[in-house]
């Protein structure tokens, strides 16, 4: 008997079920339950207007937020942010965003994988969640995850039309548009932090020190 068989048999014996393994009917019942994708009860904050709540929650999480009128204004907005923060350095960005006119705004936009020396990483996101001020990033060949992790500053472009109310809504959108989860589904709520020394909150642990959101239409 393998460990797998032993464990499954023990579970069945303890549950008062006969047979060494789950029956087809039992497995079908589990699949039926899963297929219902049943949502749990929601708090009232889940009905707040998503955009306003998203901005408020970002600020609470110590993310910063800027807004532009058109996607083409993003490079200028980023240039302003970099100048304000004395970060006039090359940025490493997602290949999917290299179509924007970065050089026109004076930005050295490097379209490659992020490394430990990069100070600024630029991504967009699949969607964002109003309830908790969360960015949802999906991995793919043109959207690698390390851009949002290794650099000290993570700049994320968020379309207002992609801000949903709850995590349940975000997962529903993901199922509708992509069918299945990618290798990495990454939900980011503010810059990294730790409180492991004397329960004192420090912003900036192993991930970014700053998360800057640029809202587009």
């Amino acid at each position: 008997m393998s460990a797998r068989e032993n464990i499954l048999a023990r579970i069945r014996a303890q549950s008062g079920r006969t047979g060494a393994t789950a029956t087809a009917a039992e497995l079908a019942a589990v699949r039926r339950h899963i297929a219902q994708q049943m949502r749990g009860p929601l708090p009232s904050i889940a009905s707040d207007p998503p955009l306003a709540r998203f901005i408020g929650e970002c600020e609470r999480l110590k993310s910063t937020v800027d807004e532009v009128a058109h996607i083409n204004d993003v490079p200028q907005a980023l240039a302003r942010y970099l100048k304000q923060n004395s970060l006039e350095v090359p940025v490493v960005g997602w290949p999917s965003l290299s179509v924007l006119d970065w050089s026109g705004a004076g930005i050295d936009y490097q379209n490659r994988l992020a490394n430990a020396d990069d100070l600024v990483g630029v991504t967009d996101c699949f969607c964002a969640i109003g309830e908790t001020g969360t960015l949802l990033l999906l991995s793919s060949p043109v959207t690698p995850k390390l851009h949002a992790l290794l650099p000290e500053t993570h700049v994320c472009i968020v379309s207002r039309s992609r801000i949903v109310a709850t995590m349940e809504d975000a997962f529903a959108l993901l199922r509708n548009e992509r069918g299945q989860l990618p290798r990495s589904t990454f939900l980011v709520s503010g810059p990294s932090r730790t409180a492991d020394i004397e329960q004192t909150i420090v912003i900036g642990a192993h991930g970014p020190y700053r998360v800057h959101v640029i809202l587009t239409p």
């Binding site: 199922r175 492991d196 329960q199 192993h206």
Partner: protein, 474 residues
């Protein structure tokens, strides 16, 4: 991990006199208790969400074999390899073999209590593999060669001065005591480990049956690097961590960070599903999931099955008056506080952890704050009953309980004897009306006096009052 729970009494006495620990515990108590209260107050549907969460965990536990098979099928379909381990030894052998088959030299780890249970680091180091803990708290403890004292804040017992000394010894840099600067130093030192590791080992807060996903809930970003950079990702988790759907995760994550640290959201939720595609720039080429029993199946279908709902938030210990005073190390194994007092006897044997279910005032706070409504005091009481039935408590204690039982189950005898006892105790209190010493109970009276009783029992007073009331009836 080596079990030291049998030394609970001696260790907890020492911990009460440890000034550094007492300062740390007081600081942590305020932050955790107040933080949770504020975060929970934002959620008006808190009780409904708790009820729903408890029910969804129960549903899985009642059909655990089928949910595990469903998870396995979906994980394998995405390229993961699912391993099963009945014991800690089997789990370690599986993980060591994965590492050796792939010529792994450095493995980075994110925080995993299951890996503490099985003492994975020792097993890896025994075959010459460097294992690096990357959660800041766990990293500090790895330098100190100490086990965690809390399941969410593992180094909660350490002062920054102690951490500063450890960093000087390990890093050879100037001594820093500014906490943000110390955190940066750890970040800089660990960067090369993150990027140089061949294997990343993580736990899983949950695994999702629907999608074959494993996931971590963190704040530092370390688990995200551990599961992204190395070419092999190995997940170590208990068989009870499976949940049906993404919707269920959304429900549970409204409860977990609020209960744990008082955060409305954890910084990073990382859902990992399978291996990277050939044209992806980052992500692991191999993903292994090791599902561990190590005692969990004993709880399935038992009178303590509610314990398997646990989502490891730590709220029960944060709110426990015993934990708040003795800290986590006194409990002598991986899981401290009320949840540990139920789990430790199950996993390592009640004969090795007999004091734990007795180290409770039964104030009930743990059950009140538990996000999945585990009846922790009831479960500890069940352990006490089993200890009595199996004659595992000291003779004096069992004898006293038997005597009590003989009186308490005979109402007339009970009434007569308490009438006598109340009068004797009243006389014993003397002119001062205080009882300062009781034969055989010095341990109790050494530290406190007891006010002398009035001389009559409750029943006597009650029946006298009833008579009086009857006389005054019109």
């Amino acid at each position: 991990m080596q079990v030291k729970s049998m030394h609970f009494k001696a260790t907890s006495s020492a911990k009460l006199n440890d000034a550094v620990l007492q300062t740390a515990l007081k600081r942590a108590k305020g932050k955790f208790v107040d933080g949770r209260a504020a975060a929970v107050a934002e959620i008006d549907a808190w009780e409904d969400i708790r009820t729903h969460a408890a029910a969804l965990r129960d549903r899985v536990i009642a059909n655990l074999d089928a949910y595990l098979i469903e998870f396995e099928q979906n994980a394998v379909a995405r390229g993961a390899v699912v391993h099963w381990a009945e014991t800690a030894e089997q789990a370690n052998a599986i993980i060591v073999k994965i590492a050796q088959d792939n010529a792994v030299k450095i493995a980075t780890k994110s925080k995993s209590m299951v890996s503490e249970e099985i003492a994975l680091n020792d097993a890896m180091e025994a075959v010459g593999i460097e294992v690096v803990e990357t959660d800041l708290g766990e990293y500090i403890l790895q330098l100190a060669h100490e086990p965690p004292s809390h399941i969410v804040a593992p180094a909660v017992h350490k002062s920054k001065e102690e951490v500063a000394d450890l960093f000087v010894a390990a890093h050879g840099r100037p001594r820093l005591t500014d906490i943000p600067a110390m955190t940066r130093e750890a970040r800089e030192v660990l960067r090369s480990k993150f990027l140089g590791a061949d294997m990343g080992i993580s736990g899983a807060n949950f695994v999702i049956a629907e999608t074959g996903t494993t996931l971590t809930v963190t704040n530092e970003g370390n688990a995200d690097l551990v599961t992204t950079v190395p070419r092999i990702h190995c997940v170590v988790t208990g068989i009870e961590k499976v949940i049906p759907t993404l919707e269920d995760f959304a429900t549970l994550i409204r409860l977990l960070p609020r209960s744990a640290t008082g955060q409305s959201a954890a910084n990073y939720l990382t859902l990992t599903t399978g291996v990277k595609a050939p044209d992806e720039l980052d992500g692991p080429e191999q993903m292994h999931v090791v599902l561990i029993d190590a005692g969990r199946t004993k709880l399935v279908g038992s009178d303590m099955k509610e314990m398997l709902r646990c989502i490891r938030c730590g709220a029960c210990m944060n709110h426990c008056p015993v934990y708040q005073n003795v800290g986590g190390h006194a409990y002598g194994w991986v899981y401290p506080g009320p949840m540990g007092s139920v789990l430790t006897p199950t996993y390592v044997g009640i004969e090795n952890a007999g004091d734990l279910p007795n180290a409770a005032t039964f104030c009930g706070e743990c059950e009140v704050v538990c996000p999945v409504k585990i009846p922790l005091p009831d479960l500890m009481r069940k352990w006490r009953e089993r200890q009595f039935d199996q004659a595992l408590r000291p003779f004096g204690e069992r004898f006293s309980i038997s005597v009590w039982n003989a009186f308490a189950t005979r109402p007339a005898l009970y009434a007569a004897s308490t009438r006598i006892a109340a009068r004797v105790a009243s006389w014993w209190g003397g002119k001062e009306r205080r009882i300062t010493w009781l034969p055989g109970l010095d341990g109790w009276t050494d530290g406190r006096d007891m006010p002398a009783p009035a001389g009559k029992t409750f029943r006597e007073l009650y029946s006298a009052r009833q008579k009086l009331a009857a006389r005054h009836k019109p």
